[in-house]
């Protein structure tokens, strides 16, 4: 019996680059690096040649030129005298608004549907199953197109809302009437809703290119402070409970803290709603939501909610029934069982797929192209691209922005995920 003492010392041979596992990975990586370098330089070389052939340059200077086109939904100030760069930001804000609203509404609807699908009620369970299966298995594009067509082709024109003197004399009602106590009007041009307005303006502050309304800032600050103070109150109540076993009553203090300051602020600023009113041909006053926006939002919410419902259902079903029974055995009431035992555990299962649903929704906002909603693709990748002919720059910039948004969402959500993750030893 002889033990191999040390590995036989051999000089380095060229063959070892392929056969020796110690060196092989280096060989492969060098080959990959060379191939990748060649591929990239081939791409760049082609691009340079093609640009030269078309007599074009690769620069982003056009972003500072006058855009010269109008955008029908601008949440930050914009006129057709503004720059292409500003049009980009208008589009980006439009994208983000749809994405944010869509995520919130889809989560609400999805959670409701997901929970109801597990309901003991047979009928509701079936209805929710049908909803989920129908929306999941049909392309999103169909829902967007269908909601847009329904909104624009089945709704009355603003003219139908008008009450003329002859009609009042004859006691006739107009062909169409406003919803919700005369505050909302759905016409074939848009949805008119009341607009929030302030009597007193605190002015604005400039942040470089952008103006920030001090009113909005004040509301955000007050809300933030209220929520922070409420958190302190609850922490204090918890500390008292840990000490004495009796939890002090906090609900009216919470209510006062959360609602009081903001109501006072709104009254001080003279907050009121401006209702849309029918004039000769169209509605004036109030806020007009474009049908492209509403259709996109409705379709995104209904479609994504079906997926979120499945995520929620899977999450709740992943928690074993023993957990509920154990909580009941400890004498917990159903509400507290849900909030203290089931949800914290189910959330751990729900969060990762939920993140990917949010990402999908955000990326799907680019389907706005189907209804000509002026999102990032509509401004930067649409009119700006066509006007300037800077296809390469516009598309690359657009991809980069989408990539950054996606990475931001996923990293934020991963951060949250790591706080609720199971702490394993």
């Amino acid at each position: 019996m002889a033990y191999a003492g040390e590995a036989p010392k051999q000089g380095f041979r060229l063959g070892m680059l392929i056969y020796d596992t110690r060196y092989r990975s280096i060989t492969i990586q060098v080959i990959v690096l060379i191939l990748f370098g060649l591929f990239v330089s081939w791409l760049i070389n082609n691009t340079v040649q093609n640009l030269a052939a078309k007599d074009r340059t690769f620069d982003f200077g056009f972003l500072w030129n006058r855009a010269g086109y109008d955008i029908n939904q601008t949440l930050i100030p914009y006129t057709n005298d503004s720059t292409h760069g500003r049009a980009l930001f208008v589009g980006l804000v439009n994208t983000l608004v749809v994405a944010a609203l869509g995520c919130v509404l889809a989560t609400v609807l999805g959670v409701i549907v997901g929970v109801l699908r597990l309901s003991k009620n047979w009928l509701i369970g079936r209805i929710m199953t049908v909803y989920v299966e129908v929306f999941r298995n049909i392309p999103l594009l169909l829902w967007i197109l269908l909601s847009f067509v329904i909104l624009t082709e089945t709704t009355p024109s603003p003219r139908d809302f008008r009450v003329t003197e002859e009609m009042t004399a004859a006691g006739e009602a107009p062909a169409a009437s406003m919803l919700l106590n005369g505050t909302v009007a759905v016409t074939n041009r848009g949805i008119n809703v009341p607009a929030p307005l302030f009597d007193r303006n605190l002015g604005t502050i400039g942040l470089g290119e952008f103006q920030l309304s001090l009113n909005t800032l004040a509301i955000i600050v007050v809300l933030g402070v209220s929520i922070f103070l409420n958190g302190r109150l609850r922490a204090h109540a918890k500390a008292v409970q840990e000490d004495t076993g009796v939890r002090p009553v906090t609900w009216w203090k919470s209510l006062l803290l959360l609602l009081g300051p903001i109501v006072l602020l709104l009254v001080a600023l003279g907050f009121h709603l401006e209702y849309p009113e029918i004039t000769r041909f169209n509605f004036t006053g109030g806020l007009e939501l474009l049908h492209s926006f509403s259709a996109l939002l409705i379709a995104l919410v209904l479609y994504t909610a079906a997926f979120i419902a499945e995520v929620v259902r899977a999450g709740i079903q992943a928690i074993s029934k023993g957990q509920t029974e154990a909580a009941f055995a400890l004498g917990m009431r159903p509400g507290r069982t849900m909030s203290l035992i089931i949800l914290p555990q189910a959330l751990r299962v729900i969060i990762p797929p939920l993140i990917s649903q949010y990402l999908n929704l955000t990326k799907n906002t680019s389907l706005a192209i189907a209804v000509s909603y002026m999102d990032l693709r509509g401004t930067l990748g649409g009119i700006t691209l066509n006007q300037t002919g800077k296809e390469l720059e516009c598309m690359l910039l657009m991809m980069l922005i989408y990539l950054i948004i996606s990475l931001l969402i996923s990293s934020l959500m991963n951060l949250y995920n790591s706080t609720v993750r199971l702490k394993e030893r």
Partner: protein
């Protein structure tokens, strides 16, 4: 011994009584499932209201359907005449007149047998992969394909020779399946060329010469694999095939088509449309993205820093941008990235980008499958002395792929639904492309429910069917006993 303190003691057992009326049958079910408590009853009432309002809106509309008319006005007139003014009715006459555009786009009508034959043979090509070890199912699929082809080809008035040829091909496949069913994989490998030739037509030598490139890979691999190992042999094969495709393929194909002009009528890509286009893009993209996705997933798991970085970068980039931007890349940007004056077919460009898109998603699904495998499986493969590729092929991948099946299928469903987005780069997808064409027709202007319901129903049947099949497969492949 009698105990007289009891007045009466029963000595026989009474027959069991049936439960009270409220505790059995339909009443019990109703009480438990629909009316258990006030909250539950409220939910039931809300549910009934939803069902009623849907039915009240849809049923008259469906019952008043019109199948025979030449325009929407005519439809409305018929409905008004039949059900009185103000009644609504579906106008399926549009579907009756235009269904072929929803299915085939502007593909020449007398050539419909070609996509039909390609579609039928698709299942004959998939069957050996799905049922490699189950000859009975294989036979059933092949027989169903034969039946499908006979029925649809005669409906599409295909030439008699085609009908006979199709039946002969299936008969040959059935024969091979009886004798040596693994050999059927050869047909699966040949299928892309067959489908390309059937769909686009042109000279037969183009696909034949392209397939010879694959043959070059196979020959080089066979000759070299025992001398220099799996990965180097495959690389040499791929390099040789690339050389073939770049320098020999096109001139040889041209030469042969001059010498032996055999072929079908050429159908340009802009005639493709409808579900023909969606299925072509979807099936091609998923079948090519599967191997690519496996490679990317392995790259992401690799110990080699560079390979891993490149894989992660590629996957995260593709997953971070919307598919639409990639489609615009195909239609607008590829002309910058490719050598000057290269210009190839838009459908092909779209398929390449969609394949890359799907590959990134498949890679993530398979990575999940790889991560779910216990570490012991890798160690067992090492202990058996298997090298990397053999371990992957024999131990790791079969298990990882099995775990990933639901994810792969749902990726495919998502991809199939996303094929509708190709309408934004000017292709005639069934949903937006063809529907826009139909709605632009003066006869059908203003119609919206019917085309969307028709297209949506077909998408629903296909996607729902696939998801149910994946659930069935998941159940069947489950090996653990729980």
């Amino acid at each position: 011994m009698t105990d007289t303190s009891h007045a009466f003691v029963r000595t026989t057992i009474l027959p069991a009584q049936s439960p009270p009326l409220t505790e059995k049958g339909a009443i019990k079910w109703l009480r438990e499932n629909l009316f258990a408590g006030p909250y539950n009853t409220l939910l039931t009432l809300v549910g009934l209201w939803i069902v009623y309002s849907l039915a009240a809106a849809a049923l008259p509309w469906l019952l008043n359907s019109v199948w025979n008319a030449n325009s929407l006005q005519e439809c409305r007139a018929i409905v008004a005449e039949r059900a009185g003014p103000g009644a609504s009715g579906a106008c399926w006459a549009m579907v009756r007149e235009r269904w072929h555009q929803f299915l085939f786009g502007f593909y020449p009508q007398d050539q419909y047998w070609r996509p039909l034959l390609a579609f039928g043979l698709l299942f004959a090509a998939i069957a050996p992969v799905l049922y490699s070890d189950n000859r009975r199912n294989l036979m059933a699929v092949l027989a169903a394909v034969a039946l499908f082809l006979i029925v649809t080809l005669s409906m599409a008035t295909a030439p008699m020779a085609v009908l006979v040829g199709a039946v002969a091909i299936i008969a040959l496949l059935i024969g091979v399946a009886q004798v040596a069913s693994p050999r059927l994989m050869l047909f699966t490998l040949l299928y892309p060329a067959i489908a390309f030739f059937l769909l686009w037509g042109g000279s037969i030598w183009t696909p034949v010469m392209a397939m010879v490139g694959l043959g070059v890979i196979a020959v080089a691999y066979r000759l070299l694999v025992n001398r220099i190992g799996v990965a180097p042999a495959a690389s040499v094969g791929v390099v040789l095939a690339l050389l073939w495709w770049l320098f020999l393929d096109v001139p040889l194909a041209q030469q042969m088509s001059v010498l032996f002009p055999v072929g079908l009528e050429s159908v340009p890509s802009d005639r493709f449309g409808g579900f023909l286009l969606a299925i072509t893009i979807g099936v091609t993209a998923i079948s090519f993205s599967l191997p690519l996705g496996i490679l990317l997933a392995l790259g992401r798991q690799s110990d080699m820093l560079l390979v891993k970085t490149l894989s992660v970068g590629f996957i995260e980039f593709i997953r971070g941008v919307p598919l639409i931007t990639l489609l615009f890349t195909a239609s607008l940007l590829l002309q910058y990235f490719l050598p000057p004056n290269t210009n190839f077919d838009l459908i092909l460009r779209v398929i390449i980008l969609v394949t890359l898109f799907a590959a990134a998603y498949i890679a993530e699904v398979i990575r999940g499958g790889l991560a779910a495998l216990p570490r012991g499986q890798y160690e067992a493969a090492d202990a058996l002395g298997l090298d990397y590729w053999r371990a992957q092929r024999l131990i790791i991948m079969p298990q990882a792929l099995k775990i990933s099946i639901p994810g792969i299928v749902s990726t495919f469903i998502g991809l199939f639904k996303d094929t509708t987005l190709v309408s934004f780069v000017g292709l005639l997808d069934p949903l937006r492309g063809v529907t826009t064409v139909v709605r632009a027709d003066i006869n059908w202007k203003g119609i919206y429910w019917e085309p969307y319901i028709f297209v949506g129903a077909i998408f629903f049947v296909i996607c729902f069917g696939m998801s149910r099949y994946s659930m069935y497969l998941e159940q069947k492949l489950k090996r653990d006993h729980r």
